[in-house]
Protein backbone atom coordinates (compact mmCIF):
# COMPACT_ATOMS: atom_id res chain seq x y z
CA UNK A 1 0.00 0.00 0.00
CA UNK A 2 1.11 3.55 -0.74
CA UNK A 3 -0.14 6.65 1.00
CA UNK A 4 -0.36 9.74 -1.18
CA UNK A 5 -1.12 13.28 0.01
CA UNK A 6 -4.82 12.56 0.27
CA UNK A 7 -4.33 9.31 2.17
CA UNK A 8 -1.81 10.80 4.59
CA UNK A 9 -3.96 13.92 5.00
CA UNK A 10 -6.86 11.69 6.09
CA UNK A 11 -4.64 10.18 8.77
CA UNK A 12 -3.80 13.63 10.12
CA UNK A 13 -7.44 14.76 10.05
CA UNK A 14 -8.36 11.64 11.97
CA UNK A 15 -5.72 12.54 14.58
CA UNK A 16 -7.29 16.01 14.84
CA UNK A 17 -10.74 14.42 15.35
CA UNK A 18 -9.46 12.10 18.07
CA UNK A 19 -7.68 14.92 19.87
CA UNK A 20 -10.66 17.27 19.70
CA UNK A 21 -12.97 14.65 21.22
CA UNK A 22 -10.65 14.44 24.22
CA UNK A 23 -9.92 18.12 24.93
CA UNK A 24 -11.99 18.25 28.17
CA UNK A 25 -10.42 15.00 29.40
CA UNK A 26 -6.90 16.37 28.93
CA UNK A 27 -7.75 19.62 30.71
CA UNK A 28 -9.19 17.68 33.60
CA UNK A 29 -6.23 15.30 33.95
CA UNK A 30 -3.79 18.20 33.67
CA UNK A 31 -5.54 20.25 36.33
CA UNK A 32 -4.77 17.52 38.88
CA UNK A 33 -0.99 17.90 38.68
CA UNK A 34 -0.37 20.54 36.04
CA UNK A 35 -1.84 23.87 35.11
CA UNK A 36 -4.94 22.44 33.51
CA UNK A 37 -4.37 23.51 29.95
CA UNK A 38 -3.13 20.43 28.11
CA UNK A 39 -6.53 20.14 26.42
CA UNK A 40 -6.36 23.75 25.26
CA UNK A 41 -2.96 23.10 23.73
CA UNK A 42 -4.05 19.86 22.08
CA UNK A 43 -7.12 21.64 20.70
CA UNK A 44 -4.84 24.27 19.17
CA UNK A 45 -2.54 21.64 17.67
CA UNK A 46 -5.54 19.75 16.25
CA UNK A 47 -6.71 22.96 14.58
CA UNK A 48 -3.21 23.48 13.17
CA UNK A 49 -3.26 19.93 11.70
CA UNK A 50 -6.68 20.57 10.15
CA UNK A 51 -5.69 23.89 8.59
CA UNK A 52 -2.44 22.48 7.22
CA UNK A 53 -4.15 19.48 5.59
CA UNK A 54 -6.86 21.67 4.09
CA UNK A 55 -4.23 23.95 2.55
CA UNK A 56 -2.06 21.04 1.32
CA UNK A 57 -2.26 20.99 -2.47
CA UNK A 58 1.00 20.27 -4.22
CA UNK A 59 3.86 20.36 -1.69
CA UNK A 60 5.91 17.17 -1.33
CA UNK A 61 5.70 15.48 2.08
CA UNK A 62 8.93 16.83 3.55
CA UNK A 63 8.32 20.59 3.23
CA UNK A 64 4.69 20.05 4.23
CA UNK A 65 5.69 18.28 7.44
CA UNK A 66 8.40 20.84 8.19
CA UNK A 67 5.98 23.75 7.93
CA UNK A 68 3.39 21.84 9.98
CA UNK A 69 6.09 21.31 12.61
CA UNK A 70 6.86 25.04 12.80
CA UNK A 71 3.16 25.85 13.10
CA UNK A 72 2.71 23.32 15.91
CA UNK A 73 5.72 24.65 17.80
CA UNK A 74 4.29 28.14 17.51
CA UNK A 75 0.84 27.46 19.00
CA UNK A 76 1.94 28.71 22.42
CA UNK A 77 1.40 25.46 24.20
CA UNK A 78 3.82 25.16 27.06
CA UNK A 79 5.97 22.10 26.56
CA UNK A 80 3.43 20.17 24.47
CA UNK A 81 3.64 22.58 21.50
CA UNK A 82 7.39 22.25 21.00
CA UNK A 83 7.31 18.51 21.78
CA UNK A 84 4.58 17.74 19.22
CA UNK A 85 6.42 20.04 16.82
CA UNK A 86 9.51 17.86 17.25
CA UNK A 87 7.43 14.72 16.79
CA UNK A 88 6.13 16.05 13.45
CA UNK A 89 9.54 17.32 12.36
CA UNK A 90 10.98 13.88 13.11
CA UNK A 91 8.43 12.32 10.75
CA UNK A 92 9.98 14.33 7.93
CA UNK A 93 13.59 13.37 8.67
CA UNK A 94 13.86 10.15 6.61
CA UNK A 95 12.03 11.65 3.61
CA UNK A 96 13.67 12.93 0.43
CA UNK A 97 12.84 16.46 -0.62
CA UNK A 98 10.61 15.15 -3.39
CA UNK A 99 8.88 12.21 -1.66
CA UNK A 100 5.28 12.05 -2.91
CA UNK A 101 4.20 8.67 -1.55
CA UNK A 102 4.83 6.65 1.58
CA UNK A 103 5.06 2.88 1.86
CA UNK A 104 5.20 0.65 4.92
CA UNK A 105 8.98 0.80 5.22
CA UNK A 106 9.09 4.56 4.96
CA UNK A 107 6.26 4.93 7.48
CA UNK A 108 8.25 2.90 10.00
CA UNK A 109 11.32 5.04 9.30
CA UNK A 110 9.20 8.16 9.89
CA UNK A 111 8.18 6.90 13.33
CA UNK A 112 11.81 6.15 14.12
CA UNK A 113 12.61 9.72 13.03
CA UNK A 114 10.00 11.04 15.47
CA UNK A 115 11.51 9.05 18.28
CA UNK A 116 14.99 10.39 17.53
CA UNK A 117 13.71 13.98 17.34
CA UNK A 118 11.93 13.66 20.68
CA UNK A 119 14.95 12.06 22.29
CA UNK A 120 17.03 15.05 21.17
CA UNK A 121 14.97 17.32 23.44
CA UNK A 122 13.94 15.06 26.33
CA UNK A 123 15.74 12.47 28.41
CA UNK A 124 12.48 10.91 29.59
CA UNK A 125 12.32 7.11 29.43
CA UNK A 126 9.46 4.62 29.71
CA UNK A 127 8.19 4.54 33.29
CA UNK A 128 8.63 8.25 34.01
CA UNK A 129 5.02 9.20 33.29
CA UNK A 130 5.41 11.34 30.16
CA UNK A 131 4.52 11.34 26.45
CA UNK A 132 7.41 8.91 25.97
CA UNK A 133 5.44 6.18 27.76
CA UNK A 134 3.14 6.10 24.74
CA UNK A 135 5.62 7.07 22.01
CA UNK A 136 8.46 4.63 22.72
CA UNK A 137 6.33 1.43 22.75
CA UNK A 138 4.37 2.64 19.72
CA UNK A 139 7.51 3.15 17.65
CA UNK A 140 8.99 -0.16 18.83
CA UNK A 141 5.78 -2.01 17.89
CA UNK A 142 5.72 -0.34 14.46
CA UNK A 143 9.35 -1.29 13.84
CA UNK A 144 8.64 -4.94 14.68
CA UNK A 145 5.51 -5.15 12.53
CA UNK A 146 5.90 -7.03 9.25
CA UNK A 147 2.47 -6.08 7.95
CA UNK A 148 1.30 -3.28 5.69
CA UNK A 149 0.40 0.28 6.68
CA UNK A 150 -2.96 -0.46 8.41
CA UNK A 151 -1.37 -3.21 10.52
CA UNK A 152 1.58 -1.02 11.43
CA UNK A 153 -0.75 1.75 12.53
CA UNK A 154 -2.94 -0.69 14.44
CA UNK A 155 -0.08 -2.20 16.45
CA UNK A 156 1.40 1.25 17.12
CA UNK A 157 -1.98 2.49 18.38
CA UNK A 158 -2.44 -0.55 20.61
CA UNK A 159 1.05 -0.21 22.09
CA UNK A 160 0.65 3.55 22.63
CA UNK A 161 -2.72 3.03 24.32
CA UNK A 162 -1.35 0.36 26.63
CA UNK A 163 1.64 2.55 27.42
CA UNK A 164 -0.55 5.54 28.24
CA UNK A 165 -2.85 3.45 30.43
CA UNK A 166 0.17 2.12 32.30
CA UNK A 167 1.07 5.67 33.36
CA UNK A 168 -1.89 5.55 35.77
CA UNK A 169 0.19 3.25 37.98
CA UNK A 170 3.37 5.31 37.71
CA UNK A 171 4.89 7.93 39.97
CA UNK A 172 5.88 10.99 37.98
CA UNK A 173 9.65 11.37 37.57
CA UNK A 174 9.66 14.05 34.92
CA UNK A 175 8.24 17.43 34.09
CA UNK A 176 6.20 19.57 36.38
CA UNK A 177 4.13 16.74 37.88
CA UNK A 178 7.30 15.21 39.34
CA UNK A 179 7.15 17.32 42.49
CA UNK A 180 3.85 15.67 43.43
CA UNK A 181 5.60 12.29 43.66
CA UNK A 182 3.39 9.52 45.02
CA UNK A 183 0.30 11.68 44.74
CA UNK A 184 0.39 11.20 40.95
CA UNK A 185 -0.49 7.50 41.38
CA UNK A 186 -3.97 6.76 40.05
CA UNK A 187 -4.04 9.57 37.46
CA UNK A 188 -2.72 8.92 33.94
CA UNK A 189 -0.29 11.34 32.32
CA UNK A 190 -2.08 13.85 30.10
CA UNK A 191 0.77 13.93 27.57
CA UNK A 192 0.89 10.14 27.31
CA UNK A 193 -2.87 10.11 26.75
CA UNK A 194 -2.69 12.68 23.95
CA UNK A 195 0.25 10.82 22.38
CA UNK A 196 -1.78 7.61 22.45
CA UNK A 197 -4.62 9.51 20.78
CA UNK A 198 -2.20 10.60 18.04
CA UNK A 199 -1.50 6.96 17.18
CA UNK A 200 -5.16 5.97 17.64
CA UNK A 201 -6.17 8.73 15.23
CA UNK A 202 -3.62 7.60 12.64
CA UNK A 203 -4.94 4.05 12.87
CA UNK A 204 -8.59 5.11 12.67
CA UNK A 205 -7.82 7.18 9.59
CA UNK A 206 -6.05 4.35 7.77
CA UNK A 207 -7.61 2.76 4.70
CA UNK A 208 -9.02 -0.64 5.58
CA UNK A 209 -8.56 -2.37 2.24
CA UNK A 210 -5.18 -3.01 0.68
Amino acid sequence: MLLDRKGFGLLLLSVADTWEENVPTYNEIDSTFGDGDHGITIGKIAKTFRQAVEAWTDQPFKPFLKSLSSAVMGVGGGSAGPLYGMLVEGLSDPLDAETEEIDAGLLKAMFVGSRAAMQSVTKAQVGEKTMMDALLPAVAAAEDCEGDIPEILAVAAAAATAGAQATTEMVSHFGRARVYGERTLGTPDAGAMSTAAFFQGLSLGAPHTT
Binding site: I40, G74, G76, G85
Partner: protein
Protein backbone atom coordinates in the same frame (compact mmCIF):
# COMPACT_ATOMS: atom_id res chain seq x y z
CA UNK B 1 -15.53 27.64 43.42
CA UNK B 2 -16.73 29.09 40.13
CA UNK B 3 -14.27 31.36 38.33
CA UNK B 4 -15.23 35.05 38.28
CA UNK B 5 -12.95 37.02 35.94
CA UNK B 6 -13.49 39.92 33.59
CA UNK B 7 -12.48 38.25 30.37
CA UNK B 8 -13.92 37.77 26.89
CA UNK B 9 -13.36 34.76 24.63
CA UNK B 10 -10.61 32.82 26.46
CA UNK B 11 -8.99 32.00 23.12
CA UNK B 12 -8.28 35.72 22.57
CA UNK B 13 -7.10 36.41 26.09
CA UNK B 14 -3.35 36.65 25.49
CA UNK B 15 -3.79 38.85 22.41
CA UNK B 16 -6.11 41.16 24.35
CA UNK B 17 -3.73 41.43 27.33
CA UNK B 18 -0.86 42.42 25.05
CA UNK B 19 -3.05 44.85 23.13
CA UNK B 20 -4.01 46.49 26.40
CA UNK B 21 -0.39 46.68 27.55
CA UNK B 22 0.68 48.34 24.32
CA UNK B 23 -2.21 50.82 24.44
CA UNK B 24 -1.56 51.69 28.07
CA UNK B 25 2.16 52.29 27.45
CA UNK B 26 2.35 53.56 23.90
CA UNK B 27 5.41 55.63 24.64
CA UNK B 28 7.42 52.58 25.73
CA UNK B 29 6.34 49.43 23.90
CA UNK B 30 4.85 48.23 20.64
CA UNK B 31 3.59 44.86 19.47
CA UNK B 32 5.27 42.74 16.82
CA UNK B 33 3.96 39.64 15.02
CA UNK B 34 3.51 36.38 16.97
CA UNK B 35 2.95 38.00 20.38
CA UNK B 36 6.15 40.01 20.58
CA UNK B 37 6.31 43.00 22.90
CA UNK B 38 9.08 45.29 21.68
CA UNK B 39 10.94 48.21 23.27
CA UNK B 40 10.01 51.24 21.16
CA UNK B 41 13.61 52.42 21.24
CA UNK B 42 15.02 49.11 19.98
CA UNK B 43 15.35 50.38 16.41
CA UNK B 44 17.99 52.93 17.42
CA UNK B 45 19.82 50.70 19.92
CA UNK B 46 23.58 50.36 19.43
CA UNK B 47 24.38 47.95 22.23
CA UNK B 48 23.80 44.44 23.52
CA UNK B 49 20.05 43.75 23.62
CA UNK B 50 17.93 41.58 25.92
CA UNK B 51 15.34 39.07 24.69
CA UNK B 52 13.19 36.86 26.91
CA UNK B 53 10.25 34.52 26.47
CA UNK B 54 7.45 33.09 28.56
CA UNK B 55 3.76 32.67 29.09
CA UNK B 56 1.24 35.39 29.84
CA UNK B 57 -1.01 35.39 32.91
CA UNK B 58 1.76 36.62 35.24
CA UNK B 59 1.26 40.35 34.77
CA UNK B 60 3.11 42.61 35.04
CA UNK B 61 5.80 39.98 34.21
CA UNK B 62 7.29 39.45 31.82
CA UNK B 63 6.21 41.93 29.14
CA UNK B 64 5.57 44.75 31.61
CA UNK B 65 9.34 45.11 31.93
CA UNK B 66 9.99 45.74 28.25
CA UNK B 67 11.43 49.20 27.73
CA UNK B 68 14.52 51.26 28.37
CA UNK B 69 17.11 49.59 30.57
CA UNK B 70 15.45 46.17 30.92
CA UNK B 71 13.98 43.86 28.23
CA UNK B 72 14.10 44.74 24.52
CA UNK B 73 11.76 42.01 23.28
CA UNK B 74 9.51 39.68 25.23
CA UNK B 75 8.12 36.75 23.22
CA UNK B 76 4.84 35.57 24.70
CA UNK B 77 3.23 32.17 24.19
CA UNK B 78 -0.24 31.85 25.64
CA UNK B 79 -1.51 31.89 29.22
CA UNK B 80 1.17 30.04 31.27
CA UNK B 81 2.47 28.56 28.02
CA UNK B 82 5.81 29.08 26.30
CA UNK B 83 6.03 30.41 22.75
CA UNK B 84 7.51 28.30 19.97
CA UNK B 85 11.13 28.56 18.86
CA UNK B 86 10.34 30.20 15.53
CA UNK B 87 9.01 33.36 17.20
CA UNK B 88 12.03 33.43 19.52
CA UNK B 89 14.48 33.07 16.65
CA UNK B 90 12.70 35.93 14.85
CA UNK B 91 12.87 38.08 17.98
CA UNK B 92 16.59 37.45 18.50
CA UNK B 93 17.33 38.27 14.86
CA UNK B 94 15.28 41.45 15.17
CA UNK B 95 17.10 42.40 18.38
CA UNK B 96 20.60 41.77 17.00
CA UNK B 97 22.10 45.24 16.55
CA UNK B 98 25.61 44.04 15.85
CA UNK B 99 26.59 43.76 19.52
CA UNK B 100 24.90 40.48 20.37
CA UNK B 101 21.78 39.37 22.24
CA UNK B 102 21.34 38.08 25.78
CA UNK B 103 18.50 35.53 25.76
CA UNK B 104 16.97 34.94 29.19
CA UNK B 105 14.96 31.74 29.71
CA UNK B 106 13.15 30.76 32.90
CA UNK B 107 13.51 27.10 33.86
CA UNK B 108 10.08 25.67 33.05
CA UNK B 109 9.62 22.58 30.89
CA UNK B 110 8.13 24.29 27.83
CA UNK B 111 10.41 27.32 27.98
CA UNK B 112 13.50 25.12 28.20
CA UNK B 113 12.55 23.08 25.12
CA UNK B 114 11.86 26.26 23.16
CA UNK B 115 15.15 27.73 24.41
CA UNK B 116 17.08 24.66 23.31
CA UNK B 117 15.47 24.59 19.85
CA UNK B 118 15.95 28.34 19.44
CA UNK B 119 19.68 28.10 20.17
CA UNK B 120 19.96 25.12 17.82
CA UNK B 121 18.39 27.12 14.96
CA UNK B 122 20.61 30.13 15.69
CA UNK B 123 23.72 28.00 15.08
CA UNK B 124 22.87 28.38 11.39
CA UNK B 125 22.57 32.17 11.62
CA UNK B 126 26.16 33.40 11.37
CA UNK B 127 25.15 37.06 11.73
CA UNK B 128 23.60 36.53 15.16
CA UNK B 129 25.61 36.30 18.38
CA UNK B 130 23.45 35.09 21.23
CA UNK B 131 24.17 33.84 24.74
CA UNK B 132 21.43 32.12 26.72
CA UNK B 133 21.16 32.54 30.49
CA UNK B 134 18.70 30.36 32.41
CA UNK B 135 17.10 31.51 35.66
CA UNK B 136 16.52 28.61 38.05
CA UNK B 137 16.33 29.88 41.60
CA UNK B 138 13.39 28.10 43.28
CA UNK B 139 15.04 26.45 46.26
CA UNK B 140 12.03 24.32 47.17
CA UNK B 141 12.23 21.36 44.85
CA UNK B 142 15.93 20.57 44.44
CA UNK B 143 19.25 21.26 46.14
CA UNK B 144 21.61 23.86 44.67
CA UNK B 145 23.79 21.02 43.32
CA UNK B 146 20.86 19.95 41.13
CA UNK B 147 19.90 23.37 39.81
CA UNK B 148 18.53 21.97 36.55
CA UNK B 149 15.49 20.97 38.58
CA UNK B 150 15.03 24.44 40.04
CA UNK B 151 12.27 26.52 38.51
CA UNK B 152 12.64 30.13 37.45
CA UNK B 153 10.49 32.44 39.57
CA UNK B 154 10.58 36.21 40.20
CA UNK B 155 14.38 36.33 40.00
CA UNK B 156 14.25 36.92 36.25
CA UNK B 157 12.95 40.45 36.87
CA UNK B 158 15.91 41.88 38.83
CA UNK B 159 18.14 39.96 36.40
CA UNK B 160 16.58 41.81 33.44
CA UNK B 161 17.20 45.05 35.32
CA UNK B 162 20.86 44.35 36.03
CA UNK B 163 21.65 42.93 32.58
CA UNK B 164 19.69 45.70 30.87
CA UNK B 165 21.63 48.38 32.74
CA UNK B 166 24.98 46.79 31.89
CA UNK B 167 23.93 46.62 28.22
CA UNK B 168 22.86 50.28 28.33
CA UNK B 169 26.31 51.22 29.65
CA UNK B 170 27.92 49.61 26.62
CA UNK B 171 29.25 46.39 28.13
CA UNK B 172 30.04 43.58 25.69
CA UNK B 173 27.77 40.56 25.30
CA UNK B 174 30.28 38.40 27.17
CA UNK B 175 30.40 40.91 30.02
CA UNK B 176 26.61 41.28 30.22
CA UNK B 177 26.15 37.50 30.15
CA UNK B 178 28.80 36.94 32.82
CA UNK B 179 27.20 39.56 35.06
CA UNK B 180 23.72 38.06 34.53
CA UNK B 181 25.07 34.59 35.28
CA UNK B 182 26.82 35.80 38.43
CA UNK B 183 23.58 37.36 39.67
CA UNK B 184 21.64 34.19 38.72
CA UNK B 185 24.14 32.01 40.60
CA UNK B 186 23.66 34.10 43.74
CA UNK B 187 19.90 34.34 43.92
CA UNK B 188 17.22 32.22 45.56
CA UNK B 189 13.41 32.32 45.81
CA UNK B 190 10.81 30.58 47.93
CA UNK B 191 7.13 30.80 47.07
CA UNK B 192 4.30 30.27 49.53
CA UNK B 193 0.64 29.92 48.68
CA UNK B 194 -2.42 29.87 50.91
CA UNK B 195 -5.01 29.68 48.12
CA UNK B 196 -4.38 28.52 44.56
CA UNK B 197 -5.37 30.27 41.35
CA UNK B 198 -7.72 29.20 38.58
CA UNK B 199 -6.60 28.90 34.98
CA UNK B 200 -8.33 31.80 33.19
CA UNK B 201 -8.92 29.76 30.02
CA UNK B 202 -10.43 26.68 31.65
CA UNK B 203 -11.67 27.94 35.02
CA UNK B 204 -9.93 24.97 36.65
CA UNK B 205 -8.10 25.50 39.95
CA UNK B 206 -4.46 24.48 40.37
CA UNK B 207 -4.99 21.98 43.14
CA UNK B 208 -6.59 22.80 46.48
CA UNK B 209 -4.99 23.90 49.75
CA UNK B 210 -8.15 23.60 51.82
CA UNK B 211 -9.19 26.08 54.52
CA UNK B 212 -6.34 25.60 56.96
CA UNK B 213 -3.14 24.91 55.05
CA UNK B 214 -0.41 26.82 53.27
CA UNK B 215 2.30 25.42 51.03
CA UNK B 216 5.86 26.71 51.08
CA UNK B 217 7.52 25.91 47.80
CA UNK B 218 4.48 26.43 45.61
CA UNK B 219 6.43 27.31 42.47
CA UNK B 220 4.92 29.59 39.94
CA UNK B 221 1.80 27.80 38.72
CA UNK B 222 0.94 25.73 41.75
CA UNK B 223 3.43 23.02 40.83
CA UNK B 224 3.84 22.28 44.51
CA UNK B 225 7.03 21.57 46.35
CA UNK B 226 6.01 19.37 49.20
CA UNK B 227 5.98 22.00 51.97
CA UNK B 228 2.31 21.80 52.84
CA UNK B 229 1.65 22.69 56.47
CA UNK B 230 -0.90 24.38 58.71
CA UNK B 231 -1.23 28.14 58.17
CA UNK B 232 1.16 30.22 60.29
CA UNK B 233 1.38 33.89 61.27
CA UNK B 234 3.14 36.50 59.12
CA UNK B 235 6.16 36.59 61.41
CA UNK B 236 6.53 32.80 61.67
CA UNK B 237 6.20 32.41 57.90
CA UNK B 238 8.71 35.19 57.22
CA UNK B 239 11.25 33.65 59.62
CA UNK B 240 10.99 30.19 58.03
CA UNK B 241 11.33 31.54 54.53
CA UNK B 242 14.13 34.06 55.11
CA UNK B 243 16.17 31.43 56.94
CA UNK B 244 15.55 28.93 54.13
CA UNK B 245 16.95 31.38 51.58
CA UNK B 246 19.95 32.37 53.75
CA UNK B 247 20.78 28.69 54.19
CA UNK B 248 20.55 27.99 50.50
CA UNK B 249 22.82 30.91 49.58
CA UNK B 250 25.05 30.46 52.63
CA UNK B 251 24.76 34.17 53.41
CA UNK B 252 27.02 35.14 56.31
CA UNK B 253 27.07 37.81 58.99
CA UNK B 254 27.97 41.17 57.41
CA UNK B 255 26.90 40.36 53.84
CA UNK B 256 24.69 42.62 51.70
CA UNK B 257 21.56 41.36 49.96
CA UNK B 258 18.69 42.32 47.70
CA UNK B 259 15.29 41.35 49.10
CA UNK B 260 12.16 41.24 46.96
CA UNK B 261 8.74 40.47 48.39
CA UNK B 262 6.57 39.70 45.39
CA UNK B 263 2.82 39.29 45.89
CA UNK B 264 1.30 36.42 43.87
CA UNK B 265 -1.91 38.27 43.03
CA UNK B 266 -4.40 37.99 45.89
CA UNK B 267 -2.25 38.74 48.91
CA UNK B 268 -2.73 42.34 49.98
CA UNK B 269 -0.05 45.00 50.23
CA UNK B 270 -1.06 45.20 53.89
CA UNK B 271 0.12 41.62 54.41
CA UNK B 272 3.26 42.13 52.31
CA UNK B 273 4.29 45.14 54.38
CA UNK B 274 3.77 43.24 57.62
CA UNK B 275 5.93 40.42 56.31
CA UNK B 276 8.58 42.79 54.96
CA UNK B 277 8.88 44.47 58.36
CA UNK B 278 9.57 41.08 59.91
CA UNK B 279 12.13 40.15 57.24
CA UNK B 280 14.06 43.34 58.05
CA UNK B 281 13.97 42.60 61.80
CA UNK B 282 15.09 39.03 61.28
CA UNK B 283 17.97 40.02 58.99
CA UNK B 284 19.07 42.83 61.30
CA UNK B 285 19.37 40.25 64.06
CA UNK B 286 21.84 38.37 61.85
CA UNK B 287 23.73 41.52 60.84
CA UNK B 288 22.72 41.13 57.17
CA UNK B 289 22.08 44.38 55.34
CA UNK B 290 19.35 44.88 52.74
CA UNK B 291 20.94 47.20 50.16
CA UNK B 292 18.24 46.78 47.47
CA UNK B 293 14.58 45.95 47.81
CA UNK B 294 11.13 45.81 46.25
CA UNK B 295 7.78 45.16 47.91
CA UNK B 296 4.76 44.72 45.64
CA UNK B 297 3.82 42.76 42.56
CA UNK B 298 6.34 41.90 39.85
CA UNK B 299 5.26 38.43 38.82
CA UNK B 300 1.78 37.26 39.75
CA UNK B 301 -0.17 34.05 39.26
CA UNK B 302 -3.70 35.27 38.73
CA UNK B 303 -5.62 35.29 42.03
CA UNK B 304 -3.20 33.00 43.85
CA UNK B 305 -2.85 34.15 47.45
CA UNK B 306 0.70 34.03 48.71
CA UNK B 307 4.03 35.55 47.80
CA UNK B 308 7.50 34.86 46.52
CA UNK B 309 10.38 35.87 48.77
CA UNK B 310 13.57 36.53 46.84
CA UNK B 311 17.10 37.05 48.16
CA UNK B 312 20.26 37.75 46.15
CA UNK B 313 23.81 38.24 47.35
CA UNK B 314 24.88 41.74 46.28
CA UNK B 315 28.13 43.51 45.60
CA UNK B 316 28.90 47.09 44.52
CA UNK B 317 28.83 46.29 40.80
CA UNK B 318 25.44 44.51 40.92
CA UNK B 319 24.05 47.30 43.09
CA UNK B 320 25.27 49.92 40.63
CA UNK B 321 23.30 48.28 37.80
CA UNK B 322 20.23 47.71 39.98
CA UNK B 323 20.15 51.43 40.78
CA UNK B 324 20.81 52.60 37.20
CA UNK B 325 17.97 54.34 35.39
CA UNK B 326 15.27 52.39 33.57
CA UNK B 327 11.86 53.18 32.16
CA UNK B 328 9.47 50.31 31.56
CA UNK B 329 5.70 50.09 32.04
CA UNK B 330 5.92 48.50 35.51
CA UNK B 331 9.38 49.31 36.81
CA UNK B 332 11.00 52.71 36.66
CA UNK B 333 14.18 54.02 38.20
CA UNK B 334 15.22 57.63 37.77
Amino acid sequence: MKMKKFINDPANLTAEVLEGLALAHQDLVELGPDNKVINKKLASADRVTIVTQGGAGHEPALSGFVGEGMIDISVVGDIFAAPGPEACVDAIKLAEKGKGVLYVVLNHAGDMITGKLTMRTLENEPGVKCIKVVTQEDVSNAPRSNSDDRRGLVGCVPLYKIAGAAAAEGKSLEEVAALAQRFADNMATLAVAVRTATHPQTGMPFGDLGDDDMEIGMGQHGEGGGGRQPMKSADETADIMVQGLLNDLDIQDGEKIMLILNGSGATTLMELLVIYRRCVQYLAGKNIEIVANFVGEMLTVQEQAGFQLFVARMDDELLHYWKAPCNTPYYKQV
